[in-house]
């Protein structure tokens, strides 16, 4: 676009957004990396530069290791269930029919309500007197009832169930769009070759969903590694840190213990983990297997 007063226009139109963004996003971001090299406790102004000490502490911190392990467990447990379930459901509700579209939109309900609502609801479902145990008792399965969120073996899997419920709708939509994108000729050719059912899925469809799978796995990693509200409100990371995740531990260090320097190092650590996993995904999905063969 040309015309008089161009430069003044560009500057004046960019200025408000840039100012907000620089002051409240970029500046704290720069500070995050800086703060993580200070020892800084409490609300006093006393900051002692300690170089890499916070990161050394992080490396040896058992609680952080537990939190990271729980994040990865949650990723594995919830991730496998979400992808399997989403693929199956997407297979049934793909296409542009009104019923299919309507069902897919219902599956997104959990995604659009606040994570807080999700957490509180599932906390009550998994309450010892809650919906889940009552259902088990009604079926005569009294032996299976548990204090789901209070037992160390069950707290994290229970959170994973809530996470699956919350997240699966988005992946259904994603996979439905992916299945939709498979060219009709491919399905017809497979039909002619007598490939159907499981065989067609394993040998053809699964490979053609390559780009959708990559997106799905990336989103999963980012979502699970940044889980906070769900764990914080359902279990507080308990019992005995058995469901602690990185961000609930960070919150505790920052806003319960006022360990600002160390908490910032934890934040950077979390970021590094997410970036590392994202790069790993890029590497694992570096080549489209379908294109490679063509």
């Amino acid at each position: 676009m040309r015309g008089r007063g161009r430069t003044a226009f560009i500057i004046s139109f960019l200025a408000p957004a840039v100012l907000f963004y620089a002051a409240f996003v970029l500046w704290p971001l720069v500070q995050a990396f800086q703060f993580s090299t200070f020892r800084w406790r409490g609300l006093s102004a006393r900051m002692t530069p300690v170089g890499g000490d916070n990161y050394r502490q992080l490396w040896e911190d058992q609680a952080f290791a537990t939190a990271l392990k729980n994040n990865l467990l949650l990723l594995a447990e919830a991730g496998v269930v979400i992808i399997a379930l989403a693929l199956m459901v997407a297979h049934v509700v793909r296409g542009q029919g009104p019923v299919q579209k309507f069902l897919r939109s219902i599956y997104l309900f959990p995604q659009v309500v606040s994570m807080v609502v999700v957490a509180v609801m599932w906390q009550f479902i998994f309450n010892p007197q809650g919906l889940f145990n009552a259902g088990l008792r009604a079926l005569g399965l009294d032996a299976l009832t548990r204090t789901w969120l209070g037992e160390s073996a069950w707290a994290l899997p229970s959170v994973a169930v809530a996470f699956v419920w919350y997240a699966v709708g988005f992946y259904i939509m994603l996979f439905a769009a992916g299945l939709e994108g498979i060219p009709q000729e491919v399905n017809e050719a497979a039909e002619l070759d007598g490939s159907k059912g499981w065989h067609r899925f394993c040998h053809i469809t699964w490979h053609l969903l390559w780009s959708v799978k990559r997106v799905a796995v990336t989103y999963l990693v980012i979502n699970v590694m940044n889980t906070f509200a769900l764990v914080y409100l359902m279990t507080r990371g308990g019992p005995d840190r058995r469901s602690e995740v990185m961000l609930t531990y960070l919150y505790e260090q920052a806003f319960v213990n006022s360990n600002f320097g160390y908490a910032t190092a934890l934040a950077v650590g979390n970021f590094v983990v997410v970036m590392g996993l994202s790069l790993l995904i890029l590497f694992l999905f570096r080549r489209n297997p379908v294109e490679a063969r063509a």
């Binding site: 997106v215 509200a229 970021f271």
Partner: protein
Amino acid sequence: MKRFLSAAFLLAFTLSVLLPLLWALMSSVKPGSEILGQPWALPSVLRFDNYGRAWGEAGIGRAFLNSLMVTVGTLIVLLPIGAMAAYVLAKYAFRGAKALLATFLGGMMFPHFLVIVPLFLLMRDLRMLDTVYGLIIVYIAYSLSFTVFVLVGFFVNLPDELAEAAMLDGCGHATTFWKVMLPLARPGLIVVGIFDAIGLWNEYGLALVLLPSEANQTLPVGIARLTMTQQYQSDWGALFAGLVIVMLPVLVVYSFFREKIHETMLAGAVKG
């Protein structure tokens, strides 16, 4: 047989998605003692007064107004300044334009918790901690990335000829934007506004840290606080009424605009 199996599977899945939501809805009109006492049973009496107590004594009404203020206040500033920046970035070539756009989009890459400590201290130093306008300012800043991302997509697709014609008619750059281009981008503004509104209405982490005092709390923080305090009073009826108050507006808005919302959710995703 196969058709029957997949229909049964679909029915079971759909029910399990809806069950918790319907259960919360039913529990919101139950006497508090029945919510955990007989979780599967229908309410023995309908207690609509749960909503009254949630709104009043439990502080959900105040939190609702705070959330409304924060959401609307953010959008009023965010949409114009986001659209202005997106328009310039989409339609004007200048040195550094690409880098600036990348900087904006980069904001979608990292979680809020990476900056939560510096942000908390910054807001404290600016004396904006625990103020509603402080949270609004933070929300504007953190919503810009997504807003600019979507709106750049809309402006890029508007033909340059329209703006050029307006400028030949004597409109300045700014007038061309406000009178010609912005009205044409209205569908984009609506979509991004709805997305932002839902996200802001539901936001928990930043609101939890930046608005500590009860009088300022937004709905998600208020509900979370209620679960703690009600452990002693166990007015579960009011709590569940509160849950419905939080989610109902979002579900209504979502139902109205679901096609648009789906498109936008997938837009970034399936290009691969």
